[in-house]
């Protein structure tokens, strides 16, 4: 069992928000470029006060969808696999905390990291208490931490 201090709740929330900002940065570029392509030749029909459909470049929506897919893939890598393999998402790396197994103190591995991310998104959406739980839990665990038996510690 590692004897480093647990990560503070504030640090974990900070890492979560940073990951959100970074993911937004990944998604926003293809989405904006895609939307620009969609509407760059758009013309307005003043008589009906509607956009002229034939002037829309529908292909641009492909890039928008690609942006969404890129965001999903990035999240799976960043908040799932990277956490499993290196103990840290990019946000956790910035604030200096890491996820390890409560039993061995080792990193969880890619599979468990991925499972932890999936459980995080399900439990977090089902009930906000999941994210408050580290405030009073003995081992500072969320529910997804309890299921995959992980703890979040400060990284020296």
């Amino acid at each position: 069992m590692p004897h480093r201090p647990y990560a503070s709740w504030g640090a974990r929330v900070g890492a979560y928000l940073l990951d959100g900002v970074i993911t937004f940065g990944v998604v926003i570029i293809p989405v904006v470029i895609g939307l620009i392509i969609v509407f760059k030749d758009a013309e307005w029909n003043d008589a009906t006060d509607e956009i002229i459909e034939s002037s829309i470049n529908w292909g641009g929506f492909g890039l928008v969808a690609l942006g969404g897919l890129a965001g999903m893939a990035f999240t799976i890598w960043n908040r799932g696999i990277r956490v499993g393999v290196h103990g840290q998402s990019l946000g956790k790396k910035i604030v200096g905390i890491e996820v390890v197994s409560a039993e061995s103190g080792q990193y969880l591995g890619a599979g468990m990291g991925f499972l932890r991310m999936i459980l995080d998104s399900i439990l977090g959406n089902a009930c906000f208490l999941n994210y408050l739980w580290p405030l009073w839990d003995e081992q500072h665990q969320t529910w997804h931490d309890m299921i995959v038996k992980s703890i979040v510690l400060t990284k020296p």
Partner: protein, 141 residues
């Protein structure tokens, strides 16, 4: 003027967290008194209720706290009995916490082991189910 230095006498740093939590709670009670949650949508809408038309375990919680600020315990319990119990438990835990801090402890306000935690989650889930069943309508908001 001529007082001996008593820097270490008062455990000011240990009392900071209890004081902040106490102020936060007082602010929340004041806000819920001033902006009445009985007015629909005054504090937003519960996404669970909006999607399913059924109350979640937390529904009626803000109304219950508002009722408590008016001293209406029966009204509060009929809005959300679990929230009333939570307020009582948290208030007691806070008082005990302050006493502990004064005696030199710097432990957090509440620490739950996994078994107790699981029990709490189970209780919330059961409450959420029962208030949606025919015989549990008295627990619905």
């Amino acid at each position: 003027m001529n007082e001996a230095p008593r820097v270490d006498r008062l455990p000011v740093s240990r009392l900071r967290a209890p004081a902040l939590i106490g102020l936060g709670a007082a602010a929340a009670f004041t806000a819920l008194r001033l902006r009445d949650p009985h007015t629909e949508g005054s504090w937003g809408f519960c996404p669970f209720l909006a999607m399913t038309g059924r109350p979640c375990p937390g529904c009626g919680g803000l109304r219950a706290v508002n009722d408590l600020t008016h001293g209406d315990v029966i009204g509060a319990i009929s809005s959300n009995a679990l929230a009333v119990a939570l307020v009582v438990v948290l208030a007691a835990a806070w008082v005990i916490w302050v006493v502990r801090a004064l005696r030199g402890s710097s432990d957090p306000m509440i620490q739950l082991g996994h078994r107790t935690g699981l029990l709490v989650i189970g209780l919330i889930a059961v409450f959420g189910v029962v208030r949606n069943l025919p015989f549990g309508t008295w627990l619905a908001p």
